[in-house]
């Protein structure tokens, strides 16, 4: 029951943000300097086609009416027609969603598999050589731009040693995991410094907590101690960090998709900017905004479920 009340309250908190997102996205086309229709269709557009596009975008109506019909359209899932693809924006975006979400999920799983053991190792060897090497490595990857890291991985593991493909998404599941390995690894390496640092700190904290001290004193084997008491805390911290960084992850995927030519929404937004496909940019920005608030909400719920100490108010 408490969970339901918590959910309701969080949903109400989200409403103004949702409204803000819609307003910002709505403004995208309206803020284009000069005549938006002209900007989209180019200098050679005929007067008829310009008038048609203005009509299609509702640019002739008063601004509040435009916003009203925009809200109505969004509510019915109508995000407009792409100028490049000549198809509904939502349709094109939906086709591109799978690669992006697969990539992010893959990267998250890989990050957890890589970072939790490293953080535990660093924490249990605190202040010693292993710890210092892990932390120095994390700081080094923090200074590396993701696109550069990705291209270098391509050069080494796709060109010099052709183990992985250079581009694409693949067809079957195994094929996809193979295609997306380098991109997911790139995101993992970019995420690792953040994850390892926070996890290390939270594991160190957890290891000195009274209940862990007690478990150690009563003679619980080290492995069991880690699994039962320390790992749970580490997982909590991971969920929080991943949830909080989801916007960053999604943003990062834009570049990584570009580097590895993955047909996802990140690649789509970049090509739409170059092509001045404003309805498409609008649609993708909206999807990104909605994804971030949905995932933040999901994180809160998972967090509340994982940690009984978190009260719902």
């Amino acid at each position: 029951m408490a969970l339901l009340a918590f959910l309701r309250r969080r949903l109400i908190q989200i409403l103004p943000v949702l409204f803000g997102i819609l307003l910002v996205v709505f403004m995208v086309v309206r803020l284009v300097p000069g005549d938006p229709a002209r900007m989209m269709l180019g200098v050679y557009a005929t007067d008829e086609s310009l008038a048609e596009l203005r009509d299609q975008l509702g640019l002739n109506d008063p601004i509040w009416m435009q916003f009203g019909s925009f809200l109505k359209d969004v509510a019915t899932g109508d995000l407009g027609i792409s100028l490049v693809y000549r198809r509904p924006v939502l349709e094109v975006v939906a086709e591109r969603l799978a690669p992006t979400i697969t990539l992010i999920a893959y990267a998250v799983i890989l990050s957890v598999l890589v970072c939790i053991p490293l953080a535990m190792l660093a924490a249990s060897r605190r202040g010693r050589r292993t710890d210092q090497v892990i932390r120095a490595g994390a700081t080094l990857t923090l200074a590396m731009p993701g696109f550069w890291l990705g291209l270098n991985l391509l050069i080494v593991f796709a060109v010099v040693w052709p183990i992985f493909p250079v581009a694409g998404f693949g067809d079957t599941l195994i094929d996809r995991l193979w295609h997306l390995f380098l991109p997911a690894l790139t995101i993992t390496l970019a995420l690792a410094p953040i994850l390892i640092r926070t996890l290390r700190a939270s594991i160190i904290e957890a290891m000195s907590a009274p209940h862990v001290e007690f478990a150690r004193t009563k003679g619980l084997p080290a492995g069991k101690l880690m699994r039962r008491h320390v790992l749970r805390n580490a997982l909590m911290a991971t969920v929080t960090i991943l949830g909080v960084n989801i916007g960053w992850l999604l943003g990062g995927s834009v570049v990584i998709e570009n580097v590895f030519s993955i047909p996802g929404i990140g690649n789509l937004i970049v090509s739409s900017v170059t092509a001045r496909d404003y309805p498409m940019i609008q649609g993708i920005a909206l999807i990104f905004g909605l994804l971030v608030i949905t995932i933040n909400l999901a994180t809160d719920i998972v967090y509340a479920l994982l940690d009984p100490r978190v009260s719902y108010d």
Partner: protein, 294 residues
């Protein structure tokens, strides 16, 4: 929600820089980090300014007979597909990239501080309006926000400044607002009010100096991520148009040549990594020093 949970809802990209302890400065010592960082950045700036003296080549002129030469003593970093010396382009680009990076931290800092200050000090409708805007802006992934703004304004350096300012101000506003809310209730502000000082004077002369340090600490640790973001935008073709060299565009040009000329991608990126490490050292050093003074 618990206290720690409330703190965890800070916006995305910002988290890495908020991690505080356990960074480079903790590994090598605060003073060493500060000095090493400052020396490295000065050296990079110096090399970049002295570029015409250091390098016999021109950063833009093409020499197609010498295209795609691997690194050698005549061309330290090799040449690109137009036969331009990559090392020369890298050191010329440092000026542009560093200036863009610094300004893309400076502008959001100014805007965020002003708006956060107003939200915290004035309260009421202003507070609600500004903080709801902050919430909205942080809902968009940083890079998507920046790309969206550049989509509206068209690619270019000015667009990049505006884009990164709009994408980055919200965190500063949050920090300043929180600090102002505390300062507002302090005795020195009450005293100033009792003396009949104007709100403007209290805000600028009494509140501002007391709330500014945390924002500088944040800016110092944020600068690396901002530099990485600006090079990313340049890589995506949304920054300075060619042929002017920037590290991001150079790597983007090299992308088509990864099969034949790895140096076009790998070597310009080393410059970014070097700047990233120097700024981490310097920023951490300054941030630690400011924290101690607090």
């Amino acid at each position: 929600m618990t206290e720690e949970h409330a703190a965890s809802t800070l916006p995305s990209r910002r988290l890495p820089s908020l991690m505080g302890r356990g960074r480079l400065s903790a590994l090598v010592g605060q003073r060493t980090a500060l000095v090493a960082g400052a020396v490295m950045i000065s050296a990079i700036v110096l090399v970049s300014v002295m570029a015409p003296v250091i390098s016999p080549y021109d950063p833009v002129d093409q020499d197609l007979r010498n295209a795609l030469q691997p690194p050698s003593w005549t061309h330290l970093f090799g040449t690109d597909n137009f036969g331009r010396d990559i090392f020369t382009r890298v050191i010329y680009a440092a000026q542009v990239d560093l200036r863009i990076g610094f300004l893309c931290v400076f502008f959001p800092w100014v805007l965020g501080t002003i708006l956060g200050g107003i939200a915290g000090y004035a309260g009421g409708v202003f507070d609600t309006l500004i903080m709801r805007t902050v919430d909205t802006f942080t809902a968009f992934p940083f890079l998507v926000m920046a790309i969206g703004v550049i989509a509206i304004l068209g690619p270019g350096v000015t667009s990049m400044y505006i884009a990164l300012t709009l994408a980055g101000w919200s965190m500063y506003a949050r920090i300043v607002r929180a600090e102002v809310l505390v300062a507002k209730r302090s005795e020195y502000v009450l005293a100033a009010r009792a003396l009949g000082f104007s709100h403007t004077r209290i805000m600028l002369r009494h509140v501002l100096p007391n709330v500014i340090t945390p924002t500088i600490i944040f800016a110092m640790t944020d600068i690396v991520l901002v530099i990485l973001s600006t090079t990313t935008l340049a890589f995506l073709g949304l920054g300075l148009p060619p042929p002017a060299p920037t590290w991001g565009t150079m790597i983007a040009e090299g992308k088509s040549f990864i099969f034949t000329a790895w140096w076009m991608v790998t070597l310009p990126g080393l410059a970014i990594v070097l700047v990233g490490i120097s700024l981490s050292l310097f920023g951490d050093g300054v941030a630690d020093w400011l924290r101690e003074r607090e």
